[in-house]
């Protein structure tokens, strides 16, 4: 099978670096993992991707243009220590919040794309995430572009309280407008897509794709186990379980993601 990896030689590390797979504990060369779309060649464990790595795998070279840079959360509830927490998260990750949005080309086709980033407070959805997705949908509608959301989230941003909840309705309404105007919306569910994100824009795709073995749920496994008082079966709420129950259209391997999305886009031109 033809590989679609865009990683250039200059991005390779010069010295050998071994990474231990968190699942099978194999020690594997970092370059090999990178060349394998950040999937463990031994056990197929999917590493979490930063938005940059994700975009590198999906976008045509140098086609990315970022939108709405630098938006930052305001402590609307005067929640104790929230500013501190944000400052620490920003310093640690180098990010402003939990999502990057912009325009890319996929095999020459221009699309609006948002990629969530679990390195920032578990990609919880607060006002910045909600606002950037809403603006992206509005932008895509105005410029007649297909819209792709690469979803991942631990759920709501607790420190923003009800403002966080309202981002669910705000983003869902914007996506609905975009779709009603004829726009194509592809949602990609990656590990983990949960809570308020799954129960809003993530599950509104015209076409919903999922990465293998991704946890996708409204209520998390721990909450369900506490409620029903027993352990959940293996594979419950994993992408394969959702496919079986009719909740997603396809499970797509990472090495086939770009070509799959490209085929879908070409059919909707």
């Amino acid at each position: 099978m033809e590989k679609q990896n865009n990683i250039s030689a200059s991005e390779r590390s010069t010295k050998e670096e071994l990474i231990e797979c968190p699942r099978c504990h194999a020690m594997i060369d970092a370059d090999i993992i990178r060349d394998n779309f950040k999937v463990c060649p031994e056990c197929n464990h999917y590493y979490t991707l930063s938005p940059k790595s994700r975009l590198r795998m999906l976008a045509d070279r140098k086609s990315f243009k970022e939108l709405d840079k630098g938006l930052r959360a305001v402590n609307l509830l005067d929640f104790p220590d929230y500013e501190d927490k944000l400052a620490k998260a920003r310093a640690k990750s180098g990010l402003d919040d939990a999502i990057m949005t912009g325009i890319i080309k996929i095999d020459g086709i221009k699309v609006a794309i948002g990629v969530m980033d679990t390195r920032f407070l578990m990609a919880s959805m607060g006002t910045v995430v909600g606002e950037k997705i809403t603006r992206l949908a509005e932008y895509a509608q105005k410029h007649n572009l297909p819209l792709i959301m690469v979803c991942a989230s631990g759920g709501a941003r607790m420190q923003e309280g009800l403002f966080s909840l309202m981002q669910m309705s705000k983003t869902s309404a914007a996506i609905k407008r975009f779709k009603d105007a004829g726009g194509l919306y592809i949602s990609l569910l990656t590990n983990p897509t949960t809570g308020g994100v799954s129960a809003s824009f993530a599950f509104l795709g015209d076409i919903i794709l999922a990465e293998p073995e991704a946890l996708i749920c409204f209520a998390g496994p721990r909450v369900i186990e506490q409620t029903i008082g027993k352990k959940l079966p293996d594979g419950f709420q994993k992408a394969e379980f959702l496919l079986e129950h009719g909740m997603v259209d396809m499970i797509v391997r990472r090495d086939e993601l770009k070509s799959t999305i490209s085929r879908i886009l070409k059919m909707h031109k």
Binding site: L162, S164, S169, I224
Partner: protein, 269 residues
Amino acid sequence: MSNDKRVTPYDRVKLARDKDRPGIEDYIEALFDGFMEFHGDRLFRDDPSIVAGIGYFHKIPVTVIGHRKGKTLEEHMAYNFGMASPEGYRKSLRLMKQAEKFNRPIITIIDTPGAYPGMEAEANGQAAAIAENLAEMSALKVPVIAIVTGEGNSGGALAIGVANKVLMLENSIYCILSPEGFASILWKDSNRAPEACEVMRITAHELQELGLVDEVIPEGSRLFKNMDNVIYKELKKLMKMSPDKLAKDRYNKFRVMGEVFEPKKNREE
């Protein structure tokens, strides 16, 4: 005890959950004439934790939808303590679309500990069902009024809460998550719920100040009369708006929720 500072937020939580507090049966009895309950999502089953049907409000045919907790332990069990499953949200949406077809205003009554975190609910698409409601409600071309009467917890509350006017009874709460769940996530200790209530901003008056709730309805012996007056006043205003204006009004209401910091250079671009 209107905006009495001596009543702590946690006191409100206790009041909102009080077993002697009116339930949806009481509100329907007091506010609507000739109510008929309709059943089923036409896909799988009828979820009894949501009541939905039609009746008259001041001689105006309306659709009424709300959570049902029940009054006795037996009823609590039968109605799953007001925690709805996807079938309940799909029934709600079916009746909202029906209301739109026959140009009936929709009045929703919110009182739920949250969407049901159970295995069947997850397998049957809890996230997808809530997402669909949020998207569809945002564009309904009839007046929608939501009243939080007890607990309005999480996406399970919002799933019937995307309204032109959002009202709260003075001792109700509206939150991203139950205070116990909140304390458990942030501090790993659900016993700190009273403390969580102090910072979450979940009371009617606090949420009105934050601009997330339109009006607080005083309780006491005139509770039903007060509800009747406020709903009637708001409904009369909304019924003067055109179908498109109603949808636009609702979209704009949620669109502006949650201010973010924007760098100066973005605005100049």
